[in-house]
C-alpha cells in the first residue's frame, strides 16, 4: 500500500541531495547532472546503505521502491521525448567526411571492443539464462553510446557550441544516439521475444508498421503544432496536452509491442518539427519539471540498484578496470583516430574523442533497461554504472587539458571574424 508520507519524504531527500551534490560538482567545473548522478549513488547501498544501513532501510525500504520507479519512469518518458526533440540529424550535413567517418567509427570500435570484452566477462559475470549473443550485443551497445544531452550541456557551459569541434561533436553524437537506440531496440526485442508468450512476428511486424506510421502518417500532422506556435507565439494548454498524449500513446505502443516505452517517447521527439524557436519553446515547456524533479528520482532509483564495492569480491575491481579501459579505448581512441584520419588536427581530434566518450545519463538509461530485462547481472550493472560515472567525470578536466579555454576562445573569435 502506498505510504504517501514516505514517498514525499523520499522525493524531498533525493531533491536536496541532488541539488547539493550538483552544486558541489559545479564548483569543481563538472556539469550539474554529473553531481546529480553521484548523489543518486550516494543515497544507495554504496554509501548510505553501507554507512547507515538502518537509516537507508527506513528511508528506502524495498517495498516502497516501486512507486519511486514508476515516477522515475514517467520522468524518463518525458526526458526521452526531450532528447529526441533536441536531436536534429540534418546537423550532420555540411560536416562531410570527418563527421561521417568519426560517427561510424565511434560506434563500430567500442561496439566490437565491447563484444570482445564479453568473451572474457560472460563466463564470470553472466549466467546460462542469458545467451552470449544477447550479452555481447548489449555490451557493445552500452559501450558505444554517447550522452547527447550531457555533451550538449558541457559544450554550452564551455562556450563550445559554435566551435567547429563542438558542432562536429553534436552531429556525431546525434548519429551515435540514433544508431545506439536502434541497436538497443533490436536487443530488447531479441531478449523479450524469447520470454514472451506473444509470437515473434507480431513484435517484428508490429514494430515495422509502427515506425512507418510514425514517419509517414503522424509526422505529416505534426507541423500543425508548429504553425499554431508561429501564429500565436505559444501553444495553448490544450495543444500542449495533445503533445503529451501523443508522447504517451507512442510510448505505450512500443511497450505493447515489446520494445520498451522509452523508444516510443524518443521517436515521437525525433519526428517533431525542428524549427529552432518551436524546439526551444517545447524544450523549455518540458525540460524544467523533468530535469529538476523527475530525473533526480531516476538517478536515485539507479543508485539504489547500484552496489559499488558491495559484494562480488576483489575481482570486481579488476573487471571494473577492464570495462573502463575498454570503454575509453573504444570510444575516445576510436573517435580520435577516425577524426585524425579524416584530416582533423590532433588537438581537435583528441578533444572530439574526449567529448564522444561522455556517456552520462544515457548510459544509465540503457543499463537500467539491461538490468530490467535480465541481460546483465546486478554486479555487471554496478560495474557499468561506475564506467559511466568515470567516463563522464573525466570529460571536463581532460578537455581543459587537451584544449585549454583560451585556445577555444581564440578559435571561436577567429571563426566569427571569418563569418563577418
Amino acid at each position: 500500500m502506498l505510504n504517501l508520507f514516505q514517498l514525499v519524504l523520499q522525493i524531498a531527500v533525493i531533491l536536496v541531495a541532488a541539488r547539493v551534490v550538483g552544486y558541489l560538482f559545479q564548483k569543481i567545473h563538472q556539469p550539474q547532472v554529473m553531481g546529480e548522478m553521484v548523489a543518486g549513488i550516494l543515497l544507495g547501498p554504496s554509501l548510505l546503505g553501507w554507512l547507515a544501513p538502518g537509516v537507508s532501510a527506513a528511508l528506502f525500504p524495498a517495498s516502497s521502491l516501486g512507486y519511486l520507479n514508476a515516477l522515475s519512469q514517467v520522468g524518463l518518458v518525458v526526458f526521452m521525448f526531450v532528447v529526441g526533440l533536441a536531436l536534429n540529424p540534418s546537423e550532420l550535413h555540411g560536416y562531410g567526411h570527418a563527421a561521417v567517418l568519426t560517427s561510424h567509427v565511434s560506434i563500430v570500435a567500442p561496439f566490437c571492443l565491447g563484444g570482445l570484452t564479453a568473451l572474457y566477462l560472460y563466463p564470470r559475470l553472466s549466467d546460462d539464462a542469458v545467451t552470449f549473443t544477447g550479452f555481447a550485443l548489449f555490451m557493445g551497445a552500452a559501450m558505444s553510446i554517447t550522452a547527447f544531452p550531457v555533451l550538449a550541456r558541457i559544450l554550452t557551459e564551455r562556450g563550445l557550441v559554435r566551435s567547429r569541434m563542438g558542432t562536429l561533436a553534436i552531429a556525431c553524437a546525434a548519429v551515435d544516439d540514433v544508431t545506439g537506440w536502434c541497436i538497443l531496440a533490436y536487443i530488447v526485442v531479441l531478449v523479450r521475444v524469447t520470454n514472451a508468450s506473444r509470437p515473434a512476428w507480431i513484435t517484428i511486424a508490429g514494430s515495422l508498421v509502427y515506425v512507418l506510421l510514425m514517419l509517414f502518417v503522424v509526422k505529416r500532422f505534426l507541423p500543425a503544432f508548429e504553425r499554431s506556435f508561429a501564429r500565436r507565439g505559444k501553444l495553448s494548454d490544450n495543444l500542449v496536452a495533445v503533445v503529451v498524449v501523443l508522447v504517451l500513446a507512442s510510448a505505450l505502443a512500443t511497450e505493447w509491442l515489446g520494445i520498451h516505452l522509452l523508444f516510443g517517447a524518443f521517436l515521437m521527439g525525433a519526428i517533431m518539427p525542428k524549427s529552432q524557436e518551436f524546439t526551444r519553446y517545447l524544450l523549455h515547456k518540458f525540460e524544467s519539471v523533468t530535469v529538476v524533479l523527475l530525473l533526480p528520482l531516476f538517478f536515485a532509483f539507479t543508485g539504489l540498484r547500484t552496489r559499488i564495492g558491495v559484494g562480488g569480491g576483489h575481482s570486481i575491481w579488476l573487471y571494473s578496470l577492464i570495462v573502463i579501459a575498454v570503454a575509453i579505448t573504444g570510444k575516445l581512441g576510436g573517435s580520435m583516430l577516425a577524426a585524425r584520419l579524416a584530416g582533423t588536427p590532433w588537438r581537435e581530434a583528441a578533444s572530439l574523442g574526449i567529448l564522444m566518450n561522455t556517456r552520462g545519463l544515457m548510459e544509465l538509461v540503457i543499463l537500467n533497461i539491461g538490468l530490467d530485462i535480465g541481460v546483465i547481472s546486478p554486479v555487471m550493472f554496478s560495474i557499468m554504472v561506475l564506467m559511466a560515472l568515470v567516463t563522464t567525470f573525466m570529460t571536463t578536466p581532460l578537455l581543459e587539458w587537451v584544449y585549454p579555454h583560451r585556445l577555444l576562445k581564440a578559435q571561436v573569435e577567429e571563426r566569427q571574424e571569418n563569418v563577418a
Binding site: L116, L125, D128, T194, N195, S377, V379
Partner: protein, 119 residues
C-alpha cells in the same frame, strides 16, 4: 560486421554458470527438521552475478550469506547443493546449516524461471 560475427561465433562455445537467481520453494524431506519450520516458502531467494551469488533465507530476519557457483554446484559456509535440470526447471539438492542445528538435507525448486534470454 565480420569482426562482430567472428566474436559472436567464438562466444558460442563459452559456457556461463548455471542460472540460479530467483525464489525457491524448499522441501526439507522429514517434517519438523530442525529449524526448518522457521522458514516460510519460498524459503530461499538467490541473487546471482555470474559465479557469485547471495542467498537469503525467508526466516523473518532475511539472513543472507555469499555463495559461489562453480560448474554444477553452489557452495557457501553453511550451504552446499548440486544444480540440476534445465534453466526453466532448475532443481537444487543439498544441505543447509540452520542456526543451532546440524546440516539439513533439502530439495529446492525454482519458481517462475524464465526461458533463455537473447536466443
Amino acid at each position: 560486421m565480420l569482426g562482430l560475427l567472428g566474436i559472436l561465433e567464438a562466444g558460442r562455445g563459452i559456457v556461463a554458470p548455471p542460472a540460479i537467481s530467483g525464489d525457491w520453494n524448499v522441501d526439507f524431506g522429514a517434517p519438523g527438521s530442525c529449524g526448518a519450520g522457521r522458514l516460510r516458502q519460498p524459503a530461499l531467494s538467490i541473487s546471482q552475478s555470474g559465479t557469485d551469488a547471495v542467498i537469503t533465507l525467508n526466516d523473518g530476519r532475511a539472513t543472507s550469506f555469499e555463495a559461489t557457483v562453480n560448474g554444477g554446484t553452489v557452495t557457501a559456509a553453511r550451504f552446499s547443493a548440486t544444480i540440476s535440470g534445465q534453466s526453466g526447471a532448475r532443481v537444487l539438492d543439498g544441505k543447509l546449516n540452520l542456526d543451532g542445528c546440524g546440516p539439513v538435507a533439502f530439495r529446492a525448486l525454482r519458481l517462475a524461471a524464465g526461458k533463455k534470454r537473447g536466443e
